[in-house]
Point group: C2
Chain length 153, copies 2
C-alpha cells in the first residue's frame, strides 16, 4: 500500500470524527501492508482527554497484536502528532510515522518541539506532508461550520 493510499484510510477516519462533531483527525496503523488498528479523535464524545486519533489507533493495534510492542508498524495520521501522541508512538516502538498537515499550535515534530529527535532508546522515522491539503481542507471546513453555528448563522 502506498503512503497516499494509507493516508486516504486515515482521512476517512477523520471524516467519521467530523460526523460525530469531533475535530476531524484520523489515524491508522499498518503492519506488513495490513491495517491492524484504526482510530479517530473521540475526545468530546468520550469526555476523555487522552482520546486522540493516534491513541485510539495504538490501543486498537495493541489489541490486534496482543502486545504493547508495535515494532515494524507504520502509523498514518492526518495531523502532526501532539506531545502526548508522539510520546505514545515512541513508547509503542512504532518504526515509522507518516503525517499530513503540520500543527503549529501543538505539533511535536516540527512545530512546538521535536520529540522524535530526542535520544530515547527508540528511533522513529518520520515523513510529513502526505495529503496535507486534504487534511487541512477537512479541518477548515469543520471550524468554519463550527464558527457559523456558534454565531447562530
Amino acid at each position: 500500500m502506498t503512503d497516499d493510499t494509507a493516508m486516504q484510510y486515515a482521512l476517512e477516519e477523520a471524516r467519521l470524527a467530523a460526523e460525530d462533531g469531533e475535530v476531524p483527525i484520523g489515524a491508522i496503523i499498518l503492519k506488513a501492508g495490513k491495517i491492524i488498528g484504526r482510530g479517530r479523535n473521540t475526545r468530546e464524545t468520550s469526555n476523555q482527554s487522552i482520546r486522540h486519533a493516534e491513541i485510539n489507533a495504538i490501543e486498537a493495534a495493541c489489541t490486534t497484536l496482543k502486545t504493547w510492542r508495535l515494532e515494524d508498524c507504520t502509523l498514518y495520521v492526518t495531523l502532526e502528532p501532539c506531545p502526548m501522541c508522539a510520546g505514545a508512538i515512541i513508547q509503542s516502538r512504532i518504526a515509522r510515522v507518516v503525517y499530513g498537515a503540520d500543527d503549529p499550535k501543538h505539533g511535536a515534530h516540527v512545530s512546538q518541539v521535536n520529540l522524535f529527535d530526542v535520544p530515547f532508546n527508540h528511533t522513529v522515522h518520520v515523513t510529513s506532508g502526505v495529503l496535507a491539503k486534504d487534511s487541512k481542507a477537512l479541518l477548515k471546513k469543520f471550524f468554519t461550520a463550527l464558527r457559523k453555528s456558534s454565531h447562530g448563522v
Copy 2:
C-alpha cells in the same frame, strides 16, 4: 492533604503495580482535597503501551468528573512523567504536577526534555522530589528481584 500524604497514596498504587509484576509506578489525582482518580502502571498485564500510571489516573478522573477538562486538579506521580504522560497532563489542563524521583532515561521535565516549559496554551506548575527516596527504593527492589529471577537465582 499535604503533598507528602497525597504521594503516599500514589506510592500505594506503585506497590500494587509491583504485586502484579509491573514496574512500580503509581499516580493519583486530587481536586479540592479529594482523590478523583487513581492509576498504576498496567502496561504488561494489559498488553497496552499507553497504560502508564498517569494515563490510567487521568482516565479515571475524567470518568469521575464526566469531562476531559481536569482544571484545578493536581496529579501526584511517583516518577518523573515521560513525554506521553507529560503531554496527557497538558492536554487535560491539569493545574499542577507533583512527582517523586527523576527518570534520567525517559523524563519529560528535567531529564530528556522539558515539555512543561514549551509555550502551549496551558501552563502546568511542577514540584519534584516529593518522597523521591521511597519511589527509588520501590523501583530498586523491583529491578533487583527481576534480575535475580531472570538469572534463576
